[in-house]
Symmetry: C4
Subunit: 298 residues, 4 copies
């Protein structure tokens, strides 16, 4: 049991004090949305866990798959399906694999911020350097000032939430507590970023194939497709949104790309579903906040 | 190997000395029962593991899903299916999310006790404060004096078993050793609470989607539905009962709610199955103990 | 990396020096065999891991399910299917649940030795007390002198192998290195027990439902049945044997008993398959060793 | 969070600086390839983790299955299907089970190097002894000078990469970063071995059945076959290659051999697929490097 001092430190209020997500309409003719997004960690997925992994060449090769095969193959798929997505890229991946990063930008996809070294943030950790180095790498190599941010390893602290507002980030996409966009409320009451929430089911990292030492099993197409369709279909019934969290080192593998193709073809067949970038969903949210009537989708 | 002193400390008697579960009939026209219950932990599921999680905002957001989305959606589902259930709520969740707790009560469901901070009890731990704070929160916000108790993280000690009797709890629902209700026998021989036993298969936490660091995989509808139907159908053949242990942060997710809807529609189609609250099953047990003949279900 | 001294300690010979399993025929009209066996650990499955579990009442209740529900239900199933099996019972389970143990014996099944406290044996551990106490409990409560032994938690040392021969054990059933019976060769060259080897696929503990903190997932009927049938059908093609390692606290649960019933009905439909006890398979082996021609099955 | 010194040590360049895999054609009439390979670890899979396992006889028996049953059965299967494969064998397995190793060679399969004690290499570890002892064992018992090397437990360091070139190894098969063969570039710019990359999906160790304490679940045929076919079919569409990493202690088990048979029969039915050894794929690569036109497959 934790000691009573620790227990006494737990606030008796929700950790997230944002008001309920507003129920504004999606752009016509859509009644639900899919935020199609990828996290490009490359080798930084592994050095973030242990810098010494840099010399473990096979461990690193899981991440190296992204530049050599995974990202090109996924760009090809998106092109064939005529879809635009958001790619959250770590600064390290941009520095180490500039050609890969440029190919994403050139293909017309949105570039988002994903930290520099893909560091998991813990309470008390400084956050500025990791955010700033990420911004600089995106600016220097791609000329991009990102609107969106996804937390590496998916954690957030208040310090990070505040820093991102200060640095001009418009939307974030890491929280697991909703099925519609909402605006964060900082601890001091000021408005934070717009949140485009995520869920574990669309995180390909959860279904194996990412790590040879992971206890998590690898699942076949039928298994993952069933989950993804169920989550999508129920969400469409709710008029809500789903967010994918896909990694080229997982979803760029042959068996996974085959599954993703089948899923995206299904999603495209849903005429009520807006498949789009984070930028577009955030703009639609801002338009709603500004009192705008529902715009048609681009 | 454990040392011989430790081994010598193991009693040569069953840990649970309750006599066999009595074989009294279920209320007519039913021949089996489903105790439909939910555990509402909200963020306390996470702070119970580590108070420092209170500042890990994404970890907390798993729990925060309950108030924002999961619980409202489940209440809607139960209303559509015209089912009443028992919701075991932690005191913390009631304090932090009073509106959520009130909405459950208002919808006509039973409210049960689920600890205050969702603390796992270990041998030697004091139990009074956690139980009392939970009772106070239910009383203060909801005016409820709960009849039922489910142990947070599912553990029990003799001290807890004794304390619950002293505090007027009528039934508990945490033990994994039976398929019918039975009355606990305390170590000193006195009668304890009525136990409505549970099983891992109906605990949605076991099938993934609860935690981004869990090694446990996420399973699709076909997988979970097959287990739940098999467990139910065999139990019906036995004339026994099943107990669900569902969490709004898991079963309130779109893909899981879709599965639960399908399962409950199936369960409702079983005309021999009494789907009800813990309170009702405990009352039927008391009626039996009092020598009452089998009453018809309400 | 392990140090060179540790590496130098690894012998450059197989750990098991038994000659290949002899290819004698199964009793007519059978051409393959299933050793149908159960491990009855009851609560000792848990106290073996930590004696302090004795006061964790829900953890203990997993084991307590065996006496209250699991074993009676399995005995009923075997009776319906007219099958005899071997039950390896820990001495603790016999001491704490004598009525359960007697009911197994009375139903005509073979009783085997499964340790006393279900202790995992490690190199250097003394083995006599655990073996002797198990023998005494079987003798005192049941009047049984067991022919078979299965290692608790499935581990073996040379000291244990030697002790079992000295104490008159005829066959063991714990090694994972064959698909036919063979005779152990002790380190000093003397013959050891007859081994009836096992495999992980038929160990119900591997497929979940055993433990609420286990990272192992719970699998539905289709999944387990497919494995069990594949393993059985291929083994029948090989003219070899399978061994089940089933636990009443797992396979006695409703969904699992339903699966086991379906599997055993399938197995019984295989007219080439001898479904029997360890005692019978060991006797057939001894008959072969003695130069006997293939006897017909009882 | 890692300290800033550790983070500063991470190079801002890809860990693997090899140029993209060349897109030369496969030998006519093939347009894709399967490198059919097995890792024969035997008991060294376990002593590599802990030398003390040598006295844990059941743990060792998982590995012992290879010599007693798994390898003979797989050789029989390959013979029936008229397929040649590469077997990477640890030096320990050759020393302890020379007859098993000889039977592989005699059946016409390629023998590759797989370390001596199956040691996981870590940055800073010496590598010469493990490589040399492996070479000596293959030479002494089989008269083989291997062309191929697969890293035990699948890890690599620069020191190992350099040592293998120095010792005349032609190709390696351990990296996870491509779907076509490529030539390594050492840190000093010199050419390294030819890499025949692998992927987790074809590593049978990932799908359970390898270890009784593993948290990884055991999966049935439908599950694994679906993955293997999807990975193969997509790879064929890409004109690329797959590499199997199969272990006789897993894929030699009845249920797994049955699955492998079905998979290989399917693979053989793909007339565009070259199923072959590492040696043959490496020779084809060398032929391409030497400017040779696409040769027909042997």
């Amino acid at each position: 049991m934790q000691d009573s001092k620790a227990l006494a430190s737990i606030p008796l209020t929700p950790a997230n004090t944002a008001p309920p997500a507003p129920q504004f309409p999606w752009p016509k003719p859509f009644t639900s949305a899919m935020f199609l997004s990828f996290d490009v960690d490359a080798e930084s997925a592994w050095t973030a866990k242990d810098a010494a992994h840099a010399e473990r060449l096979v461990t690193m090769s899981y991440g190296g798959y992204e530049a050599r095969v995974g990202t090109p193959k996924l760009l090809e798929l998106l092109d064939q399906l005529d879809l635009k997505a958001t790619f959250f890229i770590t600064g390290w991946a941009v520095d180490a694999h500039p050609a890969m990063a440029e190919s994403i930008l050139k293909a017309g996809h949105e570039i988002g911020h994903h930290g520099y070294h893909h560091l998991l943030v813990d309470p008390g950790d400084p956050v500025d350097e990791e955010v700033d180095r990420g911004l600089e790498a995106l600016k220097r190599h791609l000329g991009v000032v990102p609107k969106g941010y996804r937390a590496p390893v998916g954690e957030f602290t208040e310090a990070l939430r505040v820093a991102l507002v200060r640095k001009g980030i418009v939307y974030t996409s890491s929280f697991r507590d909703d099925v519609r966009p909402y605006r964060h409320r900082l601890k001091d009451g000021r408005p934070g970023t717009i949140e485009l929430p995520v869920t574990s089911s669309y995180d390909d990292w959860m279904h194996g194939l990412s790590n040879r030492f992971s206890p998590r099993s690898i699942f076949p197409k039928e298994h993952v497709l069933s989950m993804w369709k169920d989550d999508l279909d129920e969400t469409r019934d709710w008029g809500a949104m789903v967010t994918t969290v896909l990694h080229p080192q997982v979803s760029g593998r042959p068996m996974r790309l085959r599954l993703l193709r089948e899923f995206l073809i299904y999603a495209k067949s849903c005429s009520d579903l807006w498949i789009t970038t984070g930028e577009a969903i955030a703009a639609n949210y801002q338009n709603h906040e500004a009192g705008g009537s529902a715009a048609a989708a681009e």
